[in-house]
Symmetry: C2
Subunit: 414 residues, 2 copies
């Protein structure tokens, strides 16, 4: 048994061993970009990161202490796939207040909202099947569903969110192209990632009517709904058609992403399928992380924390909007989000935002995500970019937007 661990090993042709679905898998552009943007002094508007200096460190530490002293044996043990009951109860109550008819039996805890997207793929998507999404849409959803060999018909957005009048046509196209109705429609109703827009109440009502008529399940992904900086809350789509809506929530933006706690609210008749799928995926969501989250929620610490986040993120949004107006050429435009973490900027057609990033702005030490990454069929967004305003402090935002403005003006002058 005297083996030399430093010896040379043969090379295996792994690709020939892999499942067909791996051909559609790609690394997330954002996560690759995040690595690239670890260049020192770079100003990155690329990530979707919350401001780390606002994490409630003391509250989390207290929660850890409480839990490990009072419920330690349960908090470190295996748990139910459905999630920790008190946290499910808390969420059901919160969701009910938010307008979604829900009991604890309608709630499934997930390993971040990304896992909910994966479970949707696993439970709904046959290879080659269509889903309907906005254009642009969240790239994490594309990544999750590409692994199930999904195809996409897309519906454009305007300043009031998805143009729901075009849903039926996209549905018909999917039906025609594949002989099957699309699996579901994916909607980001509030402070859309990446577009920054919010779906109006009128459109939510219309979408509910269309989805019901077409017997189309609705996935309502709402990571930012609690982060509204102005205007009135608009009730979720799930309040209109809870029987056909799968609502996704997360603590990643309101508490801390490192805990990896998200949740699904869905009809009970569908819940068993998500639970079965999740059992195969990872048995259950981290017990300690659920107990910590629950402790913070039950002590009433989440609401004031969110209020503080809203105050600070509003300042950062305003700083970014002001800086854009000050430093960018007039031929550019951008959305004005009422909440969330992102805005969407458009540049003149002479600038390809992917090339512009690679060839120019990284040298100027400033980064964003090129728009093409949010197009499921990679057929648009060439002259757009997503800018995050939650992560960097105001003075950094000013400097980063200034650098981008200088680079844009230079490129346009050539």
């Amino acid at each position: 048994m005297n083996l030399d661990l430093e010896r040379d090993f043969p090379t295996i042709d792994w690709e020939s061993h892999l499942a067909a679905r791996t051909q559609g898998m790609k690394s997330s552009a954002i996560r690759e970009l995040l690595k690239m943007t670890q260049i020192p002094d770079i100003i990155s508007f690329a990530g979707g990161l919350p401001a780390p200096e606002l994490f409630p460190l003391r509250e989390v530490e207290e929660a850890c202490r409480h839990i490990l002293r009072e419920d330690g044996e349960e908090a470190l043990q295996y748990g139910a796939t459905e999630g920790y009951t008190p946290l499910k109860e808390f969420l059901a109550t919160q969701m009910h207040k938010y307008g979604i008819p829900s009991k604890p039996e309608n709630v499934l805890l997930t390993n971040g909202s990304q896992q909910a997207l994966d479970l949707l793929g696993k439970v709904f998507l046959d290879p080659g099947q269509y889903t309907l999404t906005g254009e642009p849409t969240y790239l994490g959803a594309i990544q999750a569903w590409n692994a199930y060999q999904a195809r996409y018909h897309t519906i454009p957005l305007d300043n009031n969110g998805m143009i729901v009048d075009e849903v039926e046509q996209a549905y018909e196209q999917a039906l025609e192209d594949s002989g099957k109705p699309p699996a579901f429609i994916y909607v980001l109703p509030n402070f859309h990632n990446p577009a920054g827009t919010t779906l109006s109440w009128e459109r939510r009502e219309k979408l509910a009517e269309i989805a019901t008529r077409l017997d189309l399940p609705v996935v309502e992904d709402d990571p930012y709904g609690q982060l509204r900086y102005e205007g009135e809350d608009i009730p979720p789509i799930a309040t209109l058609i809870p029987e056909r809506t799968i609502y996704l929530g997360t603590f990643s933006k309101t508490l801390a992403p490192g805990l990896r706690i998200g949740w699904i609210v869905c009809p009970e008749a569908l819940m068993l399928r998500f639970v079965q799928a999740k059992q195969g995926c990872d048995l259950h969501t981290g017990t300690l992380a659920q107990y910590v989250t629950n402790d913070i929620c039950q002590r009433g610490l989440l609401k004031p924390h969110i209020q503080q986040l809203c105050k600070i993120y509003k300042e950062r949004r305003d700083t970014m909007l002001d800086s854009l107006a000050e430093f960018w050429p007039e031929s550019c435009s951008w959305t004005r989000p009422e909440g969330g973490l992102f805005l969407w900027a458009r540049v003149p057609d002479s600038i390809d935002t992917e090339e512009f990033l690679r060839k120019r702005t990284l040298k100027e030490k400033v980064a964003y995500v090129p728009g093409i990454n949010f197009y499921p069929n990679a057929d648009g967004g060439h002259h757009a970019m997503r800018l995050n305003f939650s992560y960097a402090p105001p003075e950094t935002i000013v400097e980063g937007i200034r650098r981008l403005g200088v680079a844009l003006k230079k490129a346009l002058a050539e």
Copy 2:
């Protein structure tokens, strides 16, 4: 917008909307059983739970405090899909000592070992493709791969683990039945779940030779390798053929399952595919849980903790073996594991262990997992059961095995 949340909602025929793969998804028998066994006073040998009274609560609390005070902003933030670098470095060093040539680039942190099984399915399994497994085998693997519409050819076990001489025949059958080679062979080398057996060194060598000859990837699932109560460690299969082995490890049995921290060691050429798959699944493993685990590892607290676990679990194993000898009919037999959490017991053919559980032993307030759940094709194990000896304290083990013995004798006398 004045909607009545208590109104009646229509019912949707969800099953007609779901992907074909959901037809193969079932709830885990064990997890359903765990619910059933929440009957008060029941003695359950069904779960695979570590003893909660041995969790290092103080050490975890200290780790939480350290981390939140020193690295809180990183520990609550999004992290790299690959995992937290210091923990990857620690694991690479440990794995190297254990006999597996590995660098941090060969290590991927997963949300428990169950996620590694899911990632294997996602990356390797086309619908209808075969894998080779032992018979019996770990039911969580079956559950993970059924969701990818896997099929199984199985290889029987004896007291020295998988009878590797039969691997080639199973490979040929898979090739014949599907026109494709099986995706991989799944092996539990140490203190097999559920069988309790350990694969001998001679068989590991032979398996390495066969796998190389057949160009067959090997999945080596080793959750219990550190929990050896007697005898000498046997080097992992990965020490022989690291170039074609995907090794799975976990902290669930050595530290705490509620943290959900497992890991994969695999060739670098394959790593990117697992990372891409994991990005779509959940972006990354919980950051706080990784930092806590790393803190405990780096402070050198894991090794003495494992030594304590081994001492206590050995006593429990011995208690169970003694009780079986004392209370069970002579017509029964069982394995004698040198480590791990489980043993496998066989009863006479007149007893079906599924029916016996349902009709008799639950009334006697004692539970186990019927053997059939560990047969991927549900075609065996009718007269066998898995017994866990890590969870219950010794006096409870004695009483539970006594109750089972009484019930067995009663059934045999009828």
